[in-house]
Structures are given as C-alpha cells and as structure tokens.
C-alpha cells in the first residue's frame, strides 16, 4: 500500500515538474524554488530521485533513493533556519526481490540555525554538511551530473558534522573569498547518526572566486571517527571548478594520514554540451584503499536536463580494483528539485 502511495506521489511530482515553468523567481510556486508560506519567512521544498543500476557482477537494483524535504525560515533580519529531512530508499526492488518498502529509513540530513552578524561573521549551530570539496556541499541528485558519486567525496571523512561553524566572506584582490571554521563537538547532538559519523572534528574550508567562472578551494579537517576511535586523522583537500558557457570542469583531491597509511583520492570530471539539452560527461577517479591496491575508475555518461531543476542521467562505470567501493556497471536516474 505504502509502495503504491509513494509511486503515486512520485508520478504527480513528475507530471507537475513537466508542467512547471522555469526561469522565474517570484513568490508563487516554481520548480526548484520551493513554496513560500505567505510573508512568514517559511518556505518548503525538497528533491526526489529514482535510481536504477546493473552492477557487474550482481543483480539489478532499483530504488526511490531520496525523498527530501527542505524547511527554511528567516526573520529577514539576522536569523536563518534550515532543515533537510529525508526518507532514504523509500521503495526498492532488485534481481533478488520485488518492490518493497522494508529498506525505507528516516534521515536527518541537516538541521541548523544561522545568526548573521555581518558579511564577515555568521555563526551556525546544528547539523550541517562537512565542507570538504564542492560535491559534498552540493550532492543532491538534481544538482549533479552522474548517478554515481566519486569515491573521494565520501570515503575518507564523514559527510556530516554536528556542532558550531563560523563562516562568512570577504574581498581579496577584488574577488570574493568564502571561509568556514567548524567544530564537531559531540555525536550526542545528533540522534539520527549518519553513516560513519565523526566522533569529534575541527576543520576549515576556504573557497576563492578567481573569476566569475573559476573557483579554487582548500579544506583541512582533523578528526576522529566514531567507528575507528583508535586513530586521529588529518585530511587536506583541494578543489577547482571552471565553467565556460555550458562546459564544466571539476576536480577534487584529498589526502588523509593518521591511520595505518596515508591515502590519496580524487577525481577530474568534464561536462560538455551536446545538442539541445543533452550533455556528455566523462570522469576519471583514483582512490587509495586500506586493504586493496589503489582503485581507478572511468565514468562515461549522458544527461538530459530540459530545465535546470530536472535531470535524467545514464552512465557506464568501469575500473580496476573497484569491486567493493564502486563496481563496474550501468547506472541511471531521474531527479527533480521541487
């Protein structure tokens, strides 16, 4: 029954998405903008994604992978609230099972409040995405070009942190620099622990806009993982993003030491426009692994993005020493920001 209800809701969503008009930014509902509740400062929105994969070896799999709800509130002065709650794997199916909701689970992805003092200083308290690289901060399926996620964007650090963050921006040489210092104080603040959470962490992220279409970033975080309390790690990351017309080039690399060995991981991804709303995507990944030789991957994909909040993707992934972390196979998805 729940599965049918979810499928019905998803169908309504897809039909609504097909009818919605992009490009505006008024106060009435628009796809990719959420729904404002009058003048209360409250806005609801979210995103949904459906994924299918045929890894090799292994049975095919299908899932309504994300149903996320955003709630934002601002007093139009100095306070801002944001939450993202998610039902993960709301509906799954595969070669070994029929449609089922038994894997469905609730996740609290983000929950924080910001106090804005000025452009230089804002203080955030709550659960937020760990600012390591660009992908983790913008990981929602409607915003990415591939169904699969680069190993380097999640393998060596926790994707979330819970605690305090001081963040802001300031001009440097006529361009803009964004920064963040954050501390993950205790896992006790987060009743819905995400996978592989920090036990505690101290980190910083810097992002410099060299031009309107070129960004370079640097990350550092010192941390202990909840599931590996015997080690304390240091992770350094660099990132770059370049945009020209509808071409894109992104890269992220991280190095972690403090465990049994130092580990490098990273990727380079290029996006090129084809005809109309079609895009070609290519990605190379490298990732050191603790108990296996270093893995390498190539991802070759196509994406159809008729309007920015809505995307269809299909890709083939192939590599070496990648059976556990990121198996070869054909993957596809549909995602919409609503």
């Amino acid at each position: 029954m729940l599965a049918r209800l979810l499928l019905f809701l998803l169908s309504v969503l897809v039909l609504s998405a097909a009818r919605a008009e992009p490009g505006g930014d008024g106060s009435s509902y628009q796809l990719g903008r959420g729904l404002a509740v009058g003048d209360t400062g409250i806005r609801f929105g979210g995103y949904a994604s459906v994924e299918a994969g045929a890894p090799s070896p292994g049975p095919w799999e299908f899932s309504v992978s994300d149903l996320s709800l955003f709630t934002t509130w601002t007093d139009h002065a100095h306070w801002r609230f944001f939450s993202e709650t998610e039902v993960g794997e709301a509906l799954t199916a595969g070669g070994n099972q029929g449609f089922s909701t038994r894997n469905a689970h609730f996740e609290l992805e983000r929950l924080y409040i910001d106090r804005l003092f000025d452009d230089l200083f804002s203080l955030r308290f709550g659960k937020f995405l760990t600012p390591v690289g660009r992908w983790n901060l913008l990981h929602a399926s409607p915003l990415t070009w591939t169904t699969t996620r680069p190993v380097a964007t999640y393998d060596l650090f926790s994707k979330h942190a819970t605690g305090l963050m001081l963040h802001g921006g300031f001009p440097v040489l006529d361009r803009h620099m964004d920064y963040a210092f954050y501390a993950d104080l205790t896992e006790d603040l987060d009743p819905y622990r995400s996978a592989d959470p920090f036990d505690n962490a101290l980190g910083s992220h810097w992002l410099y806009s060299l031009a309107d279409n070129l960004e370079l970033g640097l990350s550092y975080v010192n941390y202990q993982l909840h599931d590996d309390p015997s080690h304390r790690f240091n992770l350094v990351g660099v990132e770059g993003a370049w945009f020209y017309r509808r071409f894109e080039l992104n890269t992220e690399w991280v190095y972690r030491n403090g465990g049994l060995q130092g580990l490098y991981q990273g990727f380079v991804q290029g996006v090129a426009p084809l005809v109309s709303h079609w895009y070609a995507i290519g990605r190379y990944e490298y990732f050191d692994q603790v108990q296996q030789p270093a893995g390498q991957l190539g991802v070759f994909g196509l994406a159809f993005r008729p309007v920015p909040p809505l995307v269809w993707k299909v890709e083939y992934r192939i590599g070496s020493h990648n059976e556990i972390s990121a198996p070869d196979g054909l993957y596809g998805s549909f995602a919409v920001l609503f």
Binding site: G24, S27, G34, F70, L116, L137, L143, P171, D212, P308
Partner: protein, 148 residues
C-alpha cells in the same frame, strides 16, 4: 556570447522610449548609504552579501525575468541572462538561500524600496525620483560601475 547578447539587448533597447538611459540602483531616500560599487551590487543580488555596512539585512528586489530592464541589468552585472543563472540559484536553494523577490514594475520597485529600510532595487535613471536615493549608476554604454 554574453557580449553579443548584451549588444542585441542594447539594440532592442533602442526600440524603447528610454533608449540610452542608465540603470539606477536605488535605496530609500533616507538610507545612510551614499554609494555602492558594481562588485558590491553583484554580491547583493547573488545573495553573497547579506548584511549592509550598518548591520541591516539587505532586501534586494528584481524585476520579472522577461522585463527588458531586468535582462539588461543581469547582463551588465552578471554577464549572464536571468535564465543562465538558474543553475546557480538551484545550488543556492539547496543551501537554503533564495533569489531576490520579484516585483512587477519599476513603480512597484520604487514604492517598495522607498518604504523598506535596507531594500535595494533598480529602475531607469529617469524614473528615480525623490522617494529614493541613487547608489550606483550603470551606464547603458561605456564603463560600468561609475559611482554617482
């Protein structure tokens, strides 16, 4: 490409009775601010700058995406048309930040800005009256960003 679009928009601009007029970035007449740079206006309308020098939250307002003045403003400030900014605003939305609210006309912008402290908008320079203070003039041709 964007330069070409700017030329095309400017060419179509000639068809309007206000051809050749500058764009005036305006705040309330009683605003404590006297001028803004083009870079600051860019940050405000991209919601990268949230608070002004006096600690008040900026309230930027836009004209509708199809409005000729909005399109010229967007090209002059961001070097991109409003529809080219959609991906940027989707990314910001994912981080809880929404684009400036939209008002339907220049008169609506003038009324809102005049009545709302820390609001900022833009109109044709000839439309800017005693209700508002011009913080930046953006010439429709020539150098951009010259303060008043």
């Amino acid at each position: 490409m964007c330069r070409l679009l700017l030329i095309l928009v400017l060419a179509s601009w000639q068809a309007f009775p206000w051809a050749g007029e500058s764009i005036a970035v305006v705040a309330a007449a009683g605003s404590r601010l006297d001028k803004l740079s083009l870079d600051t206006v860019k940050l405000i309308f991209k919601r990268k700058s949230m608070v002004n020098a006096y600690g008040d939250r900026w309230i930027p307002v836009n004209l509708p995406p199809a409005h000729p003045l909005r399109r010229l403003f967007s090209l002059a400030v961001f070097d991109a048309l409003p529809e080219d900014m959609e991906e940027y605003w989707n990314e910001q939305y994912f981080q809880g930040i929404n684009p400036p609210e939209v008002l339907s006309s220049e008169e609506a912008v003038l009324r809102f800005v005049a009545a709302t402290p820390a609001a900022i908008g833009y109109v044709r320079q000839a439309q800017a009256d005693a209700r508002v203070k011009i913080l930046l003039r953006i010439p429709s041709t020539g150098d951009l960003g010259e303060p008043p």
